[in-house]
Amino acid sequence: MVTVTTETESKYQIAHLLRRAGFGATIEELNYYKSIGYEKTVAELLNPKKVTRLPDHIVSRYHTETSATMGPYGGPTEWIYRMISTNAPLNEKIALFWHTIFATGVSKLSGNIPMVRQISMFRNSGLGSFRDLLISLSKDPAMIYWLDNWTNHKNEINENYGRELLELFSMGVGNYAEDDVKECARAFTGWSIVNSAYIDAQAAKDSFQPYGRYAWQFQYLPEDHDDGEKEFLGEKGNFTGEDIIQIICKQEATATFISRHICSFFLADEVPVTQWPYVEPNNPKLIEKLKKVYFETDYNIKEILTALFLSEEFKDRSSFYKKVKSPSELVIGVTRLTDKFGNGPRLDARNVWLAMVNMGQHIFNPPTVEGWHGGVEWSDTGTLVERINFCSEQFGNTESPGIKKMINSLVDKYDEAPLEFIDSCMEILGSIEIEAETKETLISFAKEYKAEGSLDATNYAKTILQLITTTREYQLC
């Protein structure tokens, strides 16, 4: 069956894609992507030709902490500047995706440099082979310290990393035995970090003296590696960590686990991962399709995402607005639209970080190794108020370059009927849609403003933008 897509529907599909694979889009971005069509948009997002963003040396000139990263703020700020200024948003989105799964937190690391490097690894390797990514993860100094693998010794194993590698990072509970955990841990003995004792001493006291903190490095200690025979998931051999990952990646359970994670993050919210053994996925047929791609492409994440984004399930209207925006998606999306940082770094960048924290997502510091549960759990009475206040405040700031531009184009439409004016606003906010009942309410407000004549064209446009972005629908993507 050939699906005929109208131009309007194609526009909404592209807007939907940009909300999921990015952080939404400005009207200029949407117009460009509409001109090249949906399929080419998918290709460009997955294979950006030339990545541009605000350079690190510009950011660190003003924000001293973004390279030394001693406290909880510097690393997230470095990332926030990337997310708000990049022309390749999927590179950042995929880093966010892996950060939510391979959740590592600065609370234990005491110092953000290793976290910045871990996120960079997700950015650089997150669209490649899942096998290579797991190997990089297993050698990542932040992860090694976070899950104690530096204390996993030949003669005294620490199962922490081995257990989470199987349970939360690749296969999911119920797909391996307790003995597999132990054998997995044995294979990763000797995978450590340089200067582990000093790192631990500084972390224990959150010390930054005498000369601040240092970057961390992976170190393989052959004398501390158990090179004896192991039996893992039914196979026997003198397995190394790399061998273990090779075996993990071959498992049907791993393909299911990763495909479901991808669907949960990019397609529609699923229940928290701990519930997966007991609750069927939303789209079992699509997951089967993605698993096939996983095995056919040597576990390639980019190929799986391509298949997802081109699938009818993804493009269908039934998938639109089925996810609650995470705080980072909401805050970064709004900040990109308002272009608040269009003139360069600002001292109040900390407020962007604080907004996310107050909405329940302190990037670089997930609550547990399970990461954030997400979905409807993002929204409670407290965080919803934070979300609405943030949107209202940001869209009410007419000094932001993006708002200025939006209002400049909207004031010419002041004489339009409320329905048309609201449609123009939703178009300029990224071809978004709201439910009919919500729109009726907005129209009635707009009519009142017009009848009262209390708002000039600028304030009328600003107020309507604020009303739209504080609706329930704007919290979804």
Binding site: S67, P72, Y211, Y214
Partner: protein, 337 residues
Amino acid sequence: MVTAKSENFSLKYKKTIGFSGKRGRGFFYPRDLAIGSDKKLYILNRSHEVDSYAEPESVRVAICDLNDRFYGDAGHFGEADGQFMWPTSVALDSEGMIYVSCEYKNTITVFDPEGNFQHKWGKSGIGNGEFSGPSGIIFDKNDNLWVVDHKNNRIQQYDKFGNQKHSFGDSDLLNLPWGINLDTHGDIYVADWGNDRILKFSPDGDLVSEMTGNGVLKNPSGVAIDKNGIIYVADSGNERLQVLSSDGEPIFSTRGQATMSQWGQEFLDVNPDEADPRKSANLEYDLDIPENSSPHTISSYSDKLFWGLTAVAVDEDSRVYAVETNRHRIQVFEPIN
């Protein structure tokens, strides 16, 4: 014009001053340094935005000397008079009054030598007496303050009371300039950060020469000139102290040689739980660091290399002081020629 002797020029590492500390002895993200006629060192500490709000005193001018004696401090973070938010540079007039530029508030704030607030001037804008991000500042022999108005891409001259006297430069010439200094003739040297060069101007603002160190400079943030005309550049993009002859030829460079400062050692002496594992740690840069790493990244692994080099100053004895933001310290060198 005096041409500096550059044959066999070298710098000898002398010592390291400071350690990380938000109050009392110590520096916290230091950005600039001024040297008083009494040989005291005035180190401007920028801190960072979260600690600034939580611990306003972490943003300040800390006063010490080459012999590690700590004297006190001036100013702290805040929006009120006598406070600054994104301080960038510090300078001293002939009476020892302390001047601090703030690129967020667009002000110059003045303290007496004891650190008491006196007055301030400046506001946001592009007109006379206005700033868009004042960064490097320096006094000339006539007590005129030269200010790098960096986002306006111009250099402004003021008297010590804040009356504008002169202005030159535009975005065709300068690209987000940062540090500024003067030689003994009163010629002006500007670290033209975004254009990877040092520009030398006459006191009237006429361009005299451009120095790129034969193309090696990358985002220079600070500059100082000794009495022989030797030019010292905080070559921040290369994390390197680059020395140029008076005609701009590169004659020496160093990536840093820090050792433990007196304050740092005293901290370690009373914290053996950190000192002992530190002794056995490898904090040098000969580790297996990823290929193609930037100098900034390489420095993040190292104890002795400059990391976040932002400013350089020279005292009357030609000692060279290099300010490292990310390691919270000053490395001191002496010329051997």
